[in-house]
């Protein structure tokens, strides 16, 4: 089948899914999966070297001709969408059932399919107007998915914050596309790299897409939305929708000229996002909120790669630019895979224990070994450890940075800083995930709910296995994905020709295989030894006490305390404690909470000030005719003053 036919099939299947979502769950499942598989096939076709698919409809939608384009850049994101959406679709069958959620399960299915369809439309649209329509549709669909459980107050608050921030961003995108259309005379999009006067528009795009991507100071909506959404929705939001911000920036920085400072700004925002994202993650005690902050961190890593690619493009330096961009783009895939794996794992924990609070969990690996194992695999991947995929993409970014160090000028200096901070980020992420796995899965159960936990069913572990398999595949055979990345980089910047994979990538893949084989062999030997000599089981973390309780274990807060101390200047953790000061034991308590600093110290006060101003302005509307006439007079005087001062013009 041709690509057009495949995409058409996918579209029809998704339409069927949307229609059947509320009445027939089985039909919905089949149609959504079929649509995803068709889209995946089309996208893989394009990535594997097929021609870009461009299609112009013969009719108008909203006064504009339909114009679809599936080239390597959109295919790259479409692959990720199809994989993560398939996993989430299957997962939601058991996770968000009609029986447990009679109010929202039907709506959840319909909006889920709408979300997939509209994201695919965003990726395919090559017309500014249709891009905006699809963009808005996808924002609204994800809003309804985030607020599926809207009986809870914090869910409504998170949804509202998401909607408000998204629309502030969409407003910028409206301005972006409208100005673009006004300057070029058409809403149609395509390469226009020579029109240098369009470069300043990049800043509008950076804000609009940056909010969606969750770049550091613009990420305020992200933690609460990801934490409060149902887990399969968190998975697709963190795995795919925030990547649409990256897609927008990569797409339009490839088509339009960018200002000279763009690469520097993006790279520095990336570094800030990466380091602060992981710092905030360390301060969290809510499992899903912690994962959400890791999205900010990983978006930062992607932006480091992308920013250095922009700098390289500016300096006409294909070698390290290509590596940095390929690393960033591969990290888009990788983060999408392991982050949705982690969110699905967190969802399984939440599903069986009913809490996201890490300090109420513990010892889960005994009751849910599959979930624990797969979550740990995701944790290894996100921490950027070999032999998994996270290491491959971060390593490509490192390669780019190291090559940049060899070049001359400012880029070399910046690359040193970026590489060091990227390493710091990796180390902190590792610490953070040791904390998560240690607190949630190891040790003894802290609450009865955690004690009664049971393994998730196979429609929940199955999708996680699929995602984990993808993570392992990319980790063991990175050479397989290199051509797709190189081709995408050459589409992004036509001056950068496709080249074969760097030799070290093959070495990396082989050493990963060796490492895996050694690890498996070691595990088998240990297992045999254990069987031969017998195992002696005892309580974990008993610290030599005769009668330890589960409450004596390290908590999430105490584990990360040393590191969060370094970041108190930005984290502002709020502590309420009642210490025991007397000789004899007495009641004591300790509470810790890390608020969202940007939201609490900047956005909320600013919002309060606006509301106060608005309240003051409202007092002007009191119904006294004479005063209204006075306003009129003052207005006229102001206009007259403007005209007089404006004078000659």
């Amino acid at each position: 089948m041709t690509i057009g036919a495949l995409l058409f099939t996918a579209g029809v299947a998704l339409l069927v899914a949307i229609v059947s979502g509320s009445s027939s769950p089985r039909c919905w499942l089949a149609a959504t999966l079929a649509g995803n598989v068709a889209a995946l096939t089309a996208a893989v076709n394009v990535l594997a070297g097929g021609e870009a698919w461009i299609w112009r409809g013969g009719f108008l939608v909203g006064g504009e001709t339909l114009h679809f384009r599936l080239d390597c850049i959109s295919a790259l994101f479409l692959v990720l969408l199809a994989v993560v959406a398939s996993a989430g679709t299957v997962y939601s069958r058991e996770y968000w059932t009609d029986a447990a959620h009679p109010r929202s399960a039907r709506a959840g299915r319909v909006w889920w399919s709408v979300l997939i369809a509209s994201i695919a439309l965003v990726l395919l649209s090559s017309n500014g107007l249709h891009f905006l329509i699809a963009w808005e549709l996808f924002t609204v669909a994800s809003y309804f998915l985030v607020t599926l459980d809207r009986q809870r107050r914090e869910v409504r608050a998170a949804g509202w914050l998401y909607l408000a921030t998204s629309h502030a961003a969409t407003l910028c995108l409206f301005a972006y596309f409208a100005i673009l259309a006004a300057r070029t005379g058409t809403w149609d999009l395509g390469p226009m790299r020579d029109e240098t006067s369009l470069a300043p528009l990049f800043w509008l795009a950076l804000f609009g897409f940056g909010v969606k991507a969750g770049l550091f100071p613009l990420h305020i909506w992200l933690p609460s939305a990801h934490a409060n959404a149902p887990s399969h929705v968190s998975a697709i939001m963190s795995g795919v929708t925030i990547k649409l911000g990256i897609y927008g920036l990569v797409r339009f920085s490839g088509w339009l000229p960018v200002p000279g400072a763009a690469g520097w700004v993006i790279a520095s925002l990336g570094v800030v996002s990466a380091v602060l994202g992981v710092a905030f993650a360390l301060g969290q005690h809510d499992l899903k909120r912690l994962l959400a902050y890791h999205s900010v961190e990983n978006i930062g890593i992607i932006f480091i790669g992308f920013g250095f690619a922009l700098i390289a493009a500016r300096q006409d330096n294909a070698t390290w630019g290509r590596l940095a961009l390929a690393g960033g783009l591969l990290h888009v895939w990788n983060h999408g895979l392991f982050k949705s794996l982690l969110f699905l794992g967190a969802g399984s924990v939440l599903h069986t224990t009913g809490t996201r609070e890490m300090s109420r969990l513990g010892g889960l690996w005994r009751s849910m070994p599959w979930t624990a194992g797969l979550f740990a695999l995701g944790a290894v991947a996100i921490s950027g450890l070999p032999p998994l995929n996270g290491f491959v993409s971060e390593w490509l970014v490192y390669l780019g940075l190291f090559d940049a160090v060899n070049s001359q000028g400012n880029a070399a200096l910046a690359a040193v800083f970026a590489a060091v901070l990227l390493a710091v980020t990796g180390a902190l992420a590792l610490a953070c995930f040791i904390k998560v796995c240690g607190i949630v899965f190891l040790g003894a159960s802290r609450t009865p709910a955690a004690e009664k936990a049971h393994e998730a069913g196979c429609s929940m572990t199955g999708p996680m296995l699929l995602l984990a398999g993808a993570c392992v595949t990319i980790g063991l055979a990175p050479v397989l994905v290199w051509p797709a990345m190189a081709r995408t980089a050459s589409i992004w910047n036509p001056a950068w020709s496709e080249i074969a994979a760097p030799a070290s990538l093959g070495v990396l893949g082989r050493s990963h295989v060796v490492l895996t084989v050694l690890a498996i062999a070691g595990a088998v030997v240990l297992w045999k030894l254990a069987n031969k000599h017998g195992l002696r089981r005892s309580g974990t973390w008993d610290c030599g006490y005769a009668a330890p309780t589960a409450r004596m274990q390290y908590t999430a807060g105490s584990f990360a305390n040393i590191i969060t101390q370094w970041f108190t200047w930005i984290l502002h953790p709020q502590r309420h404690e009642g210490r025991v000061m007397d000789t004899f034991p007495a009641q004591a308590h300790f509470e810790e909470h890390t608020p969202e600093t940007v939201l609490e110290t900047i956005v909320r006060p600013a919002g309060g000030a606006v509301m106060q101003l608005a309240g003051a302005a409202r007092r002007m509307q009191h119904g006294r005719l004479q005063a209204y006439l006075l306003y009129l007079l003052l207005g006229l005087a102001a206009v007259a003053a403007v005209v007089l001062i404006g004078g000659g013009r």
């Binding site: 509307q621 119904g623 007079l633």
Partner: protein, 213 residues
């Protein structure tokens, strides 16, 4: 332009101040009526050639502004049984001072405007600005609906004075159109006043705040 024009406009500016300073409704209405008659005479003075059209409009203006509207207002006042006091928001002395300051500012400001030389040495533009300003002070500073009607009329007189600048280039029909609008406006205001009176037993616009939102 003859000095006669300046004298008439000067008188009209004086009447502005009189309207601002008087504490009783009938005297404000009278000041406004006299001003209307004076301004009605202006086209005859400015237009040197005799034209029956100009004559007609001038007579109609004088009749409407000097007789018809004041009569209507007095009748409304009597019918609604309004007290004759003005009840100012802005006191009479401050109003007068404001009006005087506005007049001086109008004369000073008119010099700054890029006017034709033939208009620069007349009082037409300052007079128009001062009347508009006076109308506004009356509108903003008085509580009774009838005094607000007077404010609107004085404001209109200012606009009429601006119209005099164009008397050579635009037909007076435009001016008669404005006059017609104004008459309709006065009728409408009369009807509204009647309704307010019936609904609230008063013509005090301060009570209209009960209608907000």
């Amino acid at each position: 332009m003859s000095p006669l024009v300046n004298i008439i406009v000067g008188l009209a500016m004086g009447l502005n101040l009189l309207a601002l300073g008087s504490s009783r409704l009938p005297s404000v209405i009278r000041a406004m009526a006299v001003q209307g008659v004076l301004l009605g005479m202006l086209p005859l003075v400015i237009e040197t050639d005799f034209d029956w059209m100009v004559m007609l409009v001038a007579v109609v203006t004088m009749a409407v502004k000097g007789v018809l509207i004041p009569t209507l207002l007095r009748r409304a006042m009597r019918a609604a049984n309004i007290e004759r006091e003005m009840e100012p928001f802005i006191g009479f002395v401050p109003s007068l001072l404001l009006g005087a300051a506005g007049t001086i500012a109008a004369i000073a400001g008119a010099r700054a405007l890029p006017l034709l030389t033939e208009h620069a040495d007349t009082l037409l533009v300052p007079g128009a600005l001062a009347s508009v300003f006076t109308g506004f002070i009356l509108l903003v500073g008085r509580a009774k609906a009838i005094s607000q009607v007077c404010g609107y009329l004085i404001l209109e007189n200012g606009i009429y004075l601006f119209g005099m600048l164009l008397i050579h280039s635009t037909p007076l029909l435009v001016e008669s159109g404005i006059l017609l609008d104004l008459t309709v406006g006065v009728f409408v205001i009369g009807i509204i006043m009647d309704r307010i009176q019936r609904a609230f037993d008063s013509l005090d616009t301060r009570k209209l705040t009960a209608l907000r939102e």
